[in-house]
Subunit: 172 residues, 2 copies
DNA sequence: ACTAGAATAGTCAAGTGTGGCTATTTGGAT
DNA sequence: ATCCAAATAGCCACACTTGACTATTCTAGT
């Protein structure tokens, strides 16, 4: 996925950072947009460094453990713009792993499926409520657009689940 | 992702098959639900075999190249049910790699973003139209539910994109 | 002054996923 | 008869991803 590279380059574009900082920002603020984990970030930064899109400088502040400070290079800047344009212009199909179970739903009695889907539905509602409660504007406008997008998708999922559960209730 | 294992076990549950057959079925009929590739399928079948959930039998029909026929075992049957219940009861967050670009949309002039998103929108519409045109009932009821789910998500995305593009047009 | 727990910083081994490859057989066009 | 494209069957090397780990430094409570 080079959307991950796009993300890291985009974050480095605002200012140079070390890996921990980058991951920390992603975990704290972008958990709604990506689930990239720490070692993944480091691996991608390594690759970008090998390919010359970011520079690495090992820094030792006082007696804190050493850290690698990553900075975007001019060619990284160019890559960022290329990846950004590509990403904005491309619609990738979304696959929901939950649909695999749905496919085989007929295997179980309708009443059990209904109960299981209710559990799923409750989780979705919690997540949706959390997103809707989020203070808008906290981060960039773009992030808000992305979160708005997620909310729309979750609402659609909510409606679908409601309908399916109802349909199953009628069949029981 | 053990939804992949769930899928393969579920397909083997109807009847034993060899790897090529399984993958072929997935590619032809389940392209809307999963994007699992051939080598991934083989790798997962290998693991399931190592763990005793499926059995492997090498078969040589006539002078055709040898092939491995996979069959689900009783413990595989049990695993299938466990994974199925778990899958149905769990709502996993969906991350759209397209949102990463959205996050950084402000980097480019609004007019360019609008054009790029129009391209994305066109692709989405094509995909959506294709899904909507699909003959329902062709496969199991469960598969139709899953496809209906995808359609709902795509419509939500369609609406969101329309709105965003409109908003960007006003700003230009 | 001391200590448990959080924060800081990063790495490793192992699992997951896939583009591209090999190789044989069949079917249809010439 | 001959030949090429498609179908059949599988695998390998490599890249991506992550759970779990090490190790040090703050910090707040006692």
């Amino acid at each position: 996925m080079d959307s991950r590279a796009l993300l890291l380059l985009g974050l480095l574009r605002t200012h140079s950072q070390h890996g921990y900082q980058l991951n920390d920002y992603v975990e704290r603020n972008l958990g709604r947009v990506t689930d990239m984990k720490k070692p993944t970030a480091y691996a991608i930064l390594d690759r970008l460094a090998r390919e010359g899109y970011v520079s690495v400088e090992v820094e030792r502040m006082g007696n804190r453990p050493q850290r690698k400070v990553y900075a975007i290079t001019p060619s990284g800047e160019a890559l960022f713009l290329t990846l950004l344009r590509e990403n904005l212009a491309t619609s990738a199909p979304l696959y929901d792993s939950g649909d695999i179970g749905t496919m085989f739903a007929e295997t179980l009695p309708a009443s059990e499926v209904r109960e299981l889907l209710r559990t799923r539905h409750a989780q979705l509602r919690d997540r949706l409520a959390e997103f809707e409660r989020a203070p808008a504007h906290a981060f960039g406008l773009g992030v808000n657009l992305a979160i708005e997008h997620s909310i729309r998708l979750m609402r659609a999922e909510d409606a679908w689940l409601t309908e399916v559960v109802e349909r199953l209730a009628r069949e029981t």
